[in-house]
């Protein structure tokens, strides 16, 4: 069970897999010679996690997380995602997806919500909920990689355009 938001470090039996950390390095804000990276809006690893999760949820994609080696990223939502409301929207979308099949069954909706949420956790998610969230996020990441033909984005503009395309279509 995972209690934290996670990054994929490796796909088992696939040495060519681009880890989320490598991907993160290509979009995160850095003071170096790359002009665009100096201007990047992405400052915390959870930014990438959030975007992947959103794409996974939007496209209703889930993946078996056990086929990956993983590393822990955060055990709480970042201030930025909390104050912008992104955390509420994404949790809303997550709950909507997992309760969608019981639309008319009040008791099952309540049961599912009880199972995935946990107010004692900084993430508001139970271990079970976190496992599910990671599953959507990883699937979203795979979708982004597919769109980028299994490469990291060469610029921030390219990355944002890919995200825009995957969310708008």
């Amino acid at each position: 069970m995972s209690t934290r938001f996670q990054f994929i470090t490796k796909e088992k039996d696939n040495d060519n897999f681009i880890s989320m950390s490598v991907f993160w390095n290509s979009i995160s804000k850095k003071n170096g010679l790359d002009e665009q990276k100096k201007l990047s809006p992405f400052t915390e690893q959870l930014d990438l996690f959030y975007i992947c999760l959103l794409i996974g949820l939007k496209n209703n994609l889930k993946i078996d997380t056990h086929v990956f080696e993983k590393s822990d990223v955060n055990d709480a939502w970042t201030k930025n995602l909390k104050t912008s409301g992104a955390k509420d929207y994404i949790l809303g979308l997550f709950l909507s997806k997992i309760t969608n099949e019981f639309k008319d069954d009040q008791s099952k909706i309540k049961k599912t919500i009880n199972e995935v949420l946990d107010n004692d956790s900084e993430t508001n998610l139970s271990d079970f909920g976190m496992e599910k969230i990671n599953s959507y996020c990883f699937a979203g990441y795979i979708k982004i990689l597919e769109e980028l033909k299994n490469n990291t984005p060469s610029t921030i503009v390219k990355f944002l355009n890919v995200v825009n395309k995957l969310l708008r279509n």
């Binding site: 929207y89 825009n164 969310l167």
Partner: protein, 670 residues
Amino acid sequence: MSDILELKITGWNYKGFKVPNININIEDPKGTRNFTLFQMLSGEGKTTTLNLLRYSFYDINDHHSLGELKEIINTFRPDDITITKGIFEVSFKLNNKINYRIILNFDYSTSKINYSTIQGDGDGMVSGLVLPENLQRFITPEFINKTFFDLELAESLYDAESQETDKTIKKLSKLDYLDEISNNLESYKQAYIKTNTKTKDNDLKDKIKNRENLLSQQKKIEAKAESKKIEKNKLTKEITEIKTIIQKISLENDKIRDKVKNATDKLEEKNTQLRDSFENAYNCIKSPMSMNKELADELIEFENNLTKKRIPKAVGESFFEDLVESESCLCGHDMTKEMKNKIWENKSLFLEDDILNILNPIKSSIKKYDENEFKNLPEYFDNLIKHERESRIAKNEFEHVNQNTDNKYFNEQSKIFVLKERELKEINVWLNEVYSKPYSPSDDYNTESIKTITHRLAKLDDEIEIKAQAVKVSTKIRKLKELLKDVGIFSLDKISKTIIQNINKEVKRVMPLEPIYVESIKNKITLKTEDGIKRSGNGGASRGQMARIAYLFLITLLNRPNLKFPLIVDSPVTALDTTGRTEIAKSLSKDFSGQYIGLLLDTERADFSDILEEELSSNINLITAFSKSEASVHMIKLAENYSVDTGEFLDGVVSYNKDFFNKFKGAKNN
């Protein structure tokens, strides 16, 4: 390393280099003098000396192409082109008794270096570099470049890409022997396959041939990547230096300052626009309801459904606990065991009251969503490309302005800056998009993707093993290799932990004012402050602090092997402040048990040489060397005042006088 425990350099001579033709003796009267400071002025041959000493311990001809050799040899050639030969001779002692002399003959006209060796006293000269076998195995270019080092190595220890820390630990702790065993196992397997290959099996022969070609391609590309990484580090350093020069000139010259300021302001403005575009785009993504109508509808429907179903309506856990413990129900009827079980079972149909704290803000955010908030959303994403283009144009204009001022030197430096930046970009593109490109079956035969080559090699290996009926042997060898790999990883980890502990024990003393500790030495040195904040690369730590940690790293590591080999450092304390110099001198004298030779500038003496002298109770060689020229008349006069024999060499002076060493300086007193 059966019987060779200590190697000590006892001197060297130069003839026909950019350095005066002089002899240097490293005195060691009782066999206990380990420290020597060799003082020269900037540009007089410190780095030349470091490189000549490096090349004396491995045959440079075996490690460079003819083109590279030519380039290297040219760096040693004196300005006088009538000099066509250079001879460098280094003497050393093994275990304080066996004398050795290595002679390097440079032929500038043919760009060749020939080696000769004299072993023992009175023995004849043999051709080539002939070191005792055990020593030869240990002393490789990688080893020498780490033990005879300059601050560039210190800087590369902080760079993850070069993985210099791991390489250094492996080399100096002899963990690379494990790789050697692994390679021998692989050679055995290949020999076994060849023996098993039937002369008529052309398919297998073709596969073996293909494998050899792929292997050589793999080696070639790995070597190319290695040199690109070195070039990348060099360029990054040069770019930083040129940037400093450009900034300094533009601040000093009014006209340039105004022009550059205007161009800088415009670039800033365009970059700000691009940054804002990035922020706007990300803000849209953080508001998924504005990104996609379907998502908005889904969330609204979700919220409506919850409200319709009167969710959340919460009951606390304690309510159910109290209820099942009571004898009668809320309606007053007595409760049976079955009824109690049913209540407990169905409690999950009610939300736990603390879940309200999560659900209510979600519902509220969805309800409060204002669809007009991101009505310009398409524009935000369109602007990305527009602002990216404008920023690029402003950057080009900025470069143009910087290269067309009335200051020729400034223009030149700006041009070099842009060229170097482009070169660096090209290297990064090759490393990231060609060399590290993921495996693709459609890559052509000459691909430079290391992943594709490795993948193809593994596939070919499997096919060859099956065809040659070598699966059983190969499986055993593979297991052994995996085992060796695990041993290597485990040992590296253990040694690294010990090194970190040893370094951190010294930090308080070496950096008393602002202690910085080593967090990790995996691939590169990562630092942390006392409160645990990580500092990767040079982020936050000064060059001096980084150099001090790098020193501790190397001293700790060099004290490990059984072999005591000299540590030779070019410009040993140039980037260090007073405290750093003093404490490094103390660390060296206290902790380093091998021979230390520091090639230092006159400006590096303060707070370093005097401390070493004091700590070592004057058991130290303090040598000064300089060339004779019009500019050095004052130095010659000063040397004569200290009874230095200034006539011993035709074009240079060597002094062993400690007082002269402490008074020597390049600049003339007015």
